[in-house]
Symmetry: D2
C-alpha cells in the first residue's frame, strides 16, 4: 500500500513559498475576507485510506465544484437527454460566456461554465421535489458526511451581487432554455454554489469518479461505469475554466476547481484528491492548489496520459 504521508509533506515544503500568491476572489464580501494562507490537501484511495495535511478540517465554499454534483445528479436521472440543452465542448473563451452563448443561440458549451450549470440547475428544479434538500442529501451520500450545508449568507450575498448570472439566466430564458422562473433558478443556483465542505469531505465525495461510478465504501452505484468515464472526460476538457488545456498538460488529471480556492481531481482506479488554497491565479484557479496537484502527478508519475 502506498503511503502518501511523506509525499504530502514534501509537496507542502515545496509549495510553501507560493501559498498566498495570487488573489482571493473579491466579488462578494464573504469570500473576500478568507485568509489567503489557508492550505490543505486530502488524498482518498478507493481502498479506503485517507492521507491529509494542513487545514483539512476547515469548511470552505466549494463554489463551482458543486457543478460536478449537480451534473452527476441530473445525469443519473435523465441520462444522455441532458445534452439536448447543454453541449460537451470546451468553451475556449477568455471572454465571458455571454458572447459565446449568443453565437450559439442559448445552448451553453458545457455544464461547467456558469451558463451550463444554470441550465443543469433548471433541469434539477423540474425533476426534484425539493432541489435544496435533495442536493444536500446527495452530497452527504457521496461524502459519507452528514455535516454538509448551505452557507445562507454567501448565497444571499451572491444573489445581491450576481448581475452577470442574472443576465445569463435571462438570456437563456430568452432562448427558451430555462423552463422555470428565473428568480427561482438563480436562488437554487446560488445555494448550490454556497455549499461548504472540508478537503477531507470533498476528497471522499469524488471517489465514485475514481471507482467507475460506485462509492467504494457504501457500494452505492451513483453512475454507470460509462457515465463515470464521461463525467471525467468533461472535467478534463472543461473543468478548470479557460485553463483546462494547461491543467491537462501540467497536471494530467480530470478535475474541477472553484473560486473558493478548492480543486478536486481523480486518478481512475486509484484515488481522489482535494486541495484548498484561497488565492487564485489569473484564470481563476487556486494558484498553489494547481501547483500542488502538478507536484503530486510529477512525483508519483501518476497521470491518465
Amino acid at each position: 500500500m502506498a503511503d502518501y504521508n511523506k509525499l504530502l509533506e514534501e509537496i507542502v515544503q515545496e509549495i510553501k513559498p507560493i501559498i498566498g500568491e495570487g488573489k482571493v476572489a473579491g466579488y462578494i464580501p464573504a469570500l473576500a475576507k478568507i485568509d489567503p494562507q489557508k492550505f490543505g490537501v486530502t488524498i482518498s484511495t478507493i481502498n479506503g485510506n485517507t492521507f491529509s495535511i494542513g487545514d483539512v478540517n476547515e469548511k470552505f465554499s466549494v463554489q463551482s465544484i458543486s457543478k460536478v454534483f449537480t451534473l452527476t445528479l441530473a445525469f443519473s436521472k435523465l441520462g444522455e437527454e441532458i445534452w439536448s440543452r447543454v453541449g460537451r465542448e470546451p468553451s475556449g473563451n477568455a471572454f465571458n460566456s455571454l458572447v459565446q452563448l449568443e453565437y450559439e443561440r442559448g445552448i451553453p458549451r458545457n455544464p461547467f461554465i456558469n451558463a451550463g450549470a444554470i441550465v443543469i440547475t433548471d433541469i434539477l428544479i423540474s425533476l426534484l421535489d425539493d432541489p435544496y434538500a435533495e442536493l444536500l442529501d446527495f452530497i452527504r451520500l457521496l461524502s459519507g458526511s452528514e455535516d454538509i450545508r448551505y452557507d445562507a449568507k454567501v448565497a444571499q450575498s451572491e444573489r445581491e451581487n450576481g448581475f452577470t448570472n442574472a443576465a445569463l439566466v435571462n438570456f437563456l430564458k430568452s432562448h427558451h432554455n430555462i423552463k422555470n422562473d428565473v428568480e427561482k433558478v438563480l436562488d437554487v443556483y446560488f445555494h448550490h454554489c454556497s455549499i461548504t465542505m472540508t478537503t477531507n469531505e470533498l476528497s471522499k465525495s469524488f471517489l465514485y469518479l475514481s471507482n467507475h461510478g460506485c462509492i467504494p465504501k457504501s457500494k452505492h452505484n451513483i453512475l454507470t461505469k460509462s457515465q463515470a468515464k464521461r463525467i471525467n472526460a468533461l472535467m478534463l476538457t472543461c473543468g478548470t475554466y479557460d485553463e483546462a488545456g494547461d491543467f491537462a498538460y501540467l497536471v494530467g488529471m480530470p478535475g474541477k476547481s472553484g473560486v473558493g480556492g478548492g480543486i478536486a481531481a481523480i486518478i481512475p482506479n486509484e484515488l481522489s484528491i482535494a486541495v484548498w488554497c484561497p488565492a487564485l491565479n489569473k484564470k481563476g484557479n487556486s494558484l498553489a492548489g494547481m501547483k500542488a496537484l502538478e507536484l503530486f502527478t510529477t512525483k508519483t508519475g501518476m497521470s491518465i496520459f
Copy 2:
C-alpha cells in the same frame, strides 16, 4: 408654399403593392395582432402646415421611436455629461448587442440600441421625480397633443416576455452602468416603449428637430441649436438599427424607427415626416414605410446630402 398632398397620393399609389409585405413584430401578442395593411403618412412643416394620407389618426405603438424623446429629455437636462455612460457610434452589428456590450465593458455604443436606451432610462429615473408622468408630459408638449398615453397591456406583455432586455439591464448593472433597481429600470423602459401615438402626433412631435431645437408653434426651446443638430446626427448614424447605412444611402434623412412599424424623420429647416406601416423588413424597419420615405426624398429632391 409647397403642396405635398399630390405627392403623398403619388407615393401611396406606388407603395400600395408592397403594403403588408414583410412581417409584423410577433414577440408579444399585443403587437402581433396588428393589421399589416395599415398605412399612414403625415408631413408637418415648420411653417405650421400639415399634409397627411391614410391611417393617420390611428394610435400605434411607437416602441423605439420613444428613444428619441428619452434621449432629448436626458440631454436637455444633463448635456454632454450623458456621454460618459453611453457612446455615439453606430453598432454595426447584426448580432444582438450583448456581444458588443461585453467587448466594450458595459458602455453601450449609442443611445438608440436597447442597451443604450436602458442606460438613458436609468439616468432619467435618477433625475426625475416621476419618470412615468414627466415623459408623458414632455411628449405632450412636443406633439401639442394631450392625448398621449402608455398602453399598460403592451408594457405588461413586454415585461413578461422581455428576457433579453432583462439580460441587458443585469449585464449593465454588473458593469456598474445602472444606478437604480433593475426591476424599476425595466418597468420604466417598457412603459416608454408602450407609448401610442398617431402619425399626425408623431410628425408634430419631431418638428423641434427640424427647427434647431425649438417647437415652431409654441416657441418652446427644447434643445440648443447645436444639441438639435447632434440628435439629428445620432439619428442618421444610429437611428435605424443595423440598416442605418442603407437608410442614409437610400433615404438621406435623419430618422428613427420602431418595431411597431413607425418611422419619424426630418429635413432640417423644412419639415418632419412620420410614416406607419406595421410589416417589417429583415432588419426590423417598416418595409413600406422605408420605401415611402425613399420615394419622398427621390421625388422632392430633398436630402441632407
Copy 3:
C-alpha cells in the same frame, strides 16, 4: 460672397496649441518621419473661390482618402451592381475588420474599410485596362491638376509591411470575393493609397460631391445627382473609421480621413474643405484636423443637420 480668410485665421489661432498632439502613423518608415507640426486647410467653393492657410502646397500621402476616388470610379462605371460585393453599413467595430469579415462571410461592411476598398480595387482591375494610369487620370480630372502621382517608395514600403492587408485579400479570395490575382490586387491597392496631394488639390478634387456629381469648373458630370448624394451618405456613416458617429456628432459634414493626416469633407451646394495635420488621435483620424473641421462648422453654423 463669404470671405473665409478671417475665419481660417481664427481657426488656426485656436488650433495652434494642439497641432502636433497625437501620434504620426508609424507602421511604415516613409510616413513615420513626417513633421507632426505640419498643418494646412483649404476651402474651395462651388463658385470657384479658394481660401487657404498653412502648408497647403505641400504634398502628403492621402492614404484612405483615395478610397473615395476608387469608389467613385467603380460606382460611375458599374452603378448599383457594386453592392453585390460590398455592403453599405458602418462597421462599428473597434476590432480589426477580419473578425467582422469572418462573421459576414467575405462581404466587407462598406467600401471605406480596408477590406471593402480592396474589393473595389479588384473591381477596378477587372474593369480598367490600366488601373494604375486610369486612376491617376481620374484624380487629375477631379482636381484640375496634372501633378498627381504615386509615391513609389511608400507603395513599396506598404507592400513590404502590409501583412494585415495581405491577410485580408487572401481571406476575401477564400470567400470568392476577389477575382484577380492577390498580388496584383495588393499592388494596385497600395499604389492607390500612396497617392500624394496638397490640401489645395484635395479640396478641389472633392467639389463634385458638393455639386451633385458635377465638377463646377469643367462641368464634367462624374456622377448623377442621386449617386453623389449616396457617396456623401456613405462618407457620413462610414468615412472616419470607428469615429464616424463622433465625426457626424461633432463636425456634421460628410468626410473621409486617411492615416497620412488628411481629411476632406463637404457641405452640399456650398463647398469642400481639406485639412492636413499628420498627428492622429486614437481612432486614427487627424487630431488637429478633426478639431479644425469642428471649429469650422461651429463658427459658420454650417452643417447638414
Copy 4:
C-alpha cells in the same frame, strides 16, 4: 496476450452501414475524388503485435495528423520554449480561427489548429537545415517505414487553393509571430499536410506516445516521459477540432484527426490505433472512423478515464 482480430471484425460489422456517410473533403480536387467507401483500422501494441482489417495498406493523405509529428519534432528540439509562441488551450470555436487569433493578438490557441501548426512550421524552418527532408526522415524513424513521401500534387493543389491559410500566415506575420518568408512557410506547411501513409504505418508511428516517448521496437527515445504525456494531453483537449469534448466523452483516448479521413489515437502503456474512412462529419472528423474508435473503447472497456 489480447487478440484484437475478432474485435476488429465485430467493429467492421457494426460500422458497415455508416461507411460512406458524411462528406469527403472537397476543397481540393485531389482529396475530393477519394472513394468514400474506403475503410481500414490498424492496432499496434507496444509489445510488437499488429492487428488490422480493411484497406490498411493503402496510402491516404494524413493532413492534420502531421501536426503531431511537427509538434513532436519542434518540442523535442526546443522544449517548453515553444509555448512562448503558441498556447495550450482548446480553441472552442465553431468559427474559423481568424477571429480568435485577432482577439489573442497573433498567439494561436494551440499547435493543432491551423494557425498554431503554421507557427510550429515556422519554428522548424528556423531550426532545421532541410525542413522537407528532415520531417520525412523523422516520420520514417517513427513508423519504421522508408516509404513515407510527400504527395507533390496535393501540396501544389493546397497552395493554389489555400487562401485561408495564406490569410492566417500573413496575419500571424503582421503580429510578428512568423519569422521566415510567408511563401516559404506556406510551402513547407502544405508539404507536411500532403504526406501519405497507410493505417499500418500511421498506427506504428504513434506507438512512442503510448510508450512514454520511446519507440518500442527500436528503443529510440523521441521524447521524455513527461513530454510524451503532455503531447497526449494536448491531443485529448485539442486534437479533433471543435469536437475534442465529444471525442473525449465518447471515445476517451488522446487522438488526432485529419480531413483526409484518418484518425490516430493511443492508450498509454498499451497500444496505438489508426483508422481511415474518408467521409467526414460536420465537425470535419471521419464519421465512421470516430464511431469505430468509440466501439473499440466501449467493447474493450479501455479508456484513459
